[in-house]
């Protein structure tokens, strides 16, 4: 096994994200008035998991060198839909869950179809489809609201604690990684998605299924957005078509992906890194609260941290020997 050095280099971004998260979380917990208790961990996990799902959604598309600016709107749309459909008996709840996930998948697939077969730029397409998805969310929930027989037992189970104090939402996140990300990463399609991100022409010339790889990446992005939307509904018991919320999650998903070591130029990084990036970003945002500062400063603090974090990425400029490489 002499390839450990290569394997380490491959996972460097993910490991760095894990390190940032651990440092931030230790600072957060050690300054928290309640200390390291199951409740503190549960609250932190529930907040972080939402962004982690949306960041995972963004990762799929970013790996193919695209960008999904509609991910926050899919998230909001599925939140509104879930507030109507996740109701009643176990069987109707299951049907509702399925419908919400299918909606997310379809939204993502529409993005993919327009990008692949319409041959348009992802950034413009997803801005426009984002407007459509937000319109649909507004149609469902012109005013924030909830349904009377919302299945709050399921919601409580998935946002509560398992025996031993482990937050259920973290377990759910782990299960999603296990049944969506790992198979994707190991499949031909997943490899092709990475290849498309590195060089679409080279991937095409090598006979890789570039089109289906992109389609699957966009569709899975929609699915992950829907899972995020479901969890938002589990936390709030209600749906709200909030434009500000959708935009914030889109912005934060990109921030989390960058913190998590996923290259926006495509082909590099992993969803695991993005998850740690998301958790780290959430923890940084909450640091202000444990230090008892005015919450008014939170947006500025988050913005500055975001700006500094992305500037760190340009440390590679010190390694550039030929000025021409700057413009690659």
């Amino acid at each position: 096994m002499n390839d450990w050095r290569y394997r380490f280099a491959e996972q460097r971004g993910t490991l760095l994200a894990l390190l940032i998260f651990l440092v931030m979380f230790v600072i957060y917990v050690s300054n928290h008035p309640a200390g390291f208790t199951a409740n503190v961990v549960q609250t932190a996990a529930n907040k972080g998991v939402l962004l982690a799902f949306v960041a995972m959604a963004q990762t799929f598309v970013v790996l193919t060198a695209g960008i999904d600016l509609s991910v926050g709107m899919v998230f909001i749309l599925c939140n509104c839909l879930a507030s109507y459909l996740v109701v009643g008996s176990p069987s109707t709840t299951a049907l509702g869950l399925f419908a919400v996930l299918a909606t997310g998948l379809v939204c993502g697939a529409i993005n993919g179809l327009v990008v692949v077969f319409g041959r348009l730029q992802p950034i413009v397409v997803t801005i426009a489809t984002g407007a459509i998805y937000f319109g649909l969310a507004l149609l469902l929930r012109p005013n924030p609201g909830s349904t009377a027989n919302f299945n709050s037992d399921l919601a409580d189970a998935l946002t509560g604690k398992l025996p031993g104090g482990i937050p259920a939402s973290l377990v759910a996140l782990f299960v999603v990684v296990l049944i969506i990300w790992v198979p994707f990463r190991r499949s031909v399609i997943g490899r092709a998605a990475y290849a498309v991100g590195s060089s679409e022409t080279a991937a095409y010339m090598s006979g890789m299924p570039t089109r289906s790889a992109k389609l699957v990446a966009y569709a899975l992005s929609g699915l992950l957005g829907a899972i995020g939307g479901l969890f938002l509904t589990f936390f709030t018991y209600s749906g709200e078509a909030s434009l500000a919320n959708g935009n914030t999650y889109t912005l934060f998903s990109i921030a989390a992906v960058v913190l998590g070591g996923v290259s926006l130029f495509g082909g590099k990084g992993s969803a695991i890194g993005a998850i740690f990036g998301a958790l780290a970003f959430r923890t940084i945002g909450d640091l202000l609260f444990v230090f008892d500062l005015d919450p008014l400063w939170q947006p500025l603090f988050q913005g500055v941290v975001l700006l500094l974090a992305i500037c760190l990425g340009s440390a590679r400029l010190f390694q550039v020997k030929n000025r021409l490489d700057l413009f690659a």
Binding site: G118, R119, V124, V125, G130, L251, A255, V304
Partner: protein, 327 residues
């Protein structure tokens, strides 16, 4: 935009050859929208209504102008929402500082936008960070600054007389001042893009930054400058909007990011950079404004407007914005 000098069949009139199909489609769609609108309401084609539309279009037009310069370089400026708000809030804030503040309100608002644009430009040009991330981060920082400044509420400052005069007044023949301001800005930018070294360099960078650098263009300085101009124009749009509403408000810029990008792209400017014409952007701006106006006249609810809006943009792009098939 055919530039080859090879003799073409004489049958084709030269005018048709020179017109960009994208711009022609955009103008065609404007005519179509006007026809649809006139079916719904008889005064849709009246001069007053059209001038009113052009006045509303001016704010978007000025913001889209900055966006276009950035898009021509193959970059994008996602900091529009809060740079617009910064321009509006800062100019209104300056107005409360006596006579000096009143006179300097407009330049001060624009300067704040230029400063934010410089930060984005520095990140893109010298730190080599993708413009999408830098401008998103600058947007977040600008939002944070304004939240701290206003305490989370809309500020009480009101716009100065000059701002209101520029945004809502009329001078000769009932032509709105805002439209004149847009026309002057547009003329300056057309001159800048087609007659100056800066303009040539912007197109060159959009085609291939490496090649531009090797041909002796100070590409980093040009990128920095372009982002500063874009920030300044966004803030200027915000200043005018504050004059229009006679005060600044939280999230007043949110409604301008998507339309600005859409107007630039529908006007035939390639989102990959290097190709585009300001006339196209003008067409795109008018098209978007008319579309919004017609959806309002037809009294379609907000959700329907969002859906139709997104669908129309995708449909129009599918008409002429497609890339070549990879083979």
């Amino acid at each position: 935009m055919t530039t080859d000098n090879a003799p073409l069949p004489a049958k084709r009139p030269s005018l048709l050859r020179r017109i960009d199909p994208a711009i022609a489609t955009a103008f065609g769609c404007i005519v179509l929208l006007l026809l649809i609108g006139s079916v719904y309401s008889s005064n849709f084609l009246s001069p007053e209504y059209l001038l009113q539309q052009l006045k509303v279009a001016s704010f978007l037009g000025i913001i889209a102008t900055g966006m276009m310069i950035v898009v021509l370089m193959g970059q994008i400026d996602l900091s529009v929402p809060w740079v617009v708000t910064v321009g509006a809030m800062m100019s209104a804030a300056a107005a409360s500082y006596g006579v000096v503040g009143e006179t300097l309100a407009i330049p001060f608002g624009i300067l704040c936008g230029v400063a934010l644009g410089l930060v984005s430009g520095f990140g893109v040009a010298y730190l080599r960070i993708p413009s999408m991330i830098v401008t998103l981060a600058v947007n977040a920082v600008a939002q944070g600054l304004m939240v701290v400044y206003t305490g989370g509420f809309s500020p009480q400052d009101t716009a100065t007389f000059a701002m209101r005069f520029l945004a809502t007044g009329t001078t000769i023949l009932g032509i709105p001042n805002a439209l004149i301001v847009w026309a002057i800005t547009g003329a300056l930018v057309i001159f800048l893009l087609s007659r100056t070294i800066f303009g040539r360099a912007v197109y060159a960078i959009g085609n291939r930054e490496r090649a531009a650098y090797l041909s002796g263009v100070a590409t980093q300085r040009i990128v920095l400058l372009a982002f500063a101009i874009s920030g300044g124009l966004s803030a200027f749009g915000g200043v005018l909007l504050a004059g229009y509403a006679s005060k600044a408000a939280q999230s007043m810029g949110d409604a301008y990011l998507l339309p600005a990008i859409a107007a630039v792209v529908l006007g035939g400017t390639s989102i990959l950079g290097g190709r585009g014409n300001y006339i196209g952007t003008v067409a795109g701006v008018i098209l978007i404004t008319l579309l919004q106006s017609i959806l309002a006249v037809m009294q379609i609810a907000e959700f329907g407007r969002q859906i139709i809006y997104g669908a129309v943009i995708i449909a129009m792009l599918l008409l002429y914005g497609r890339e070549r098939l990879q083979r």
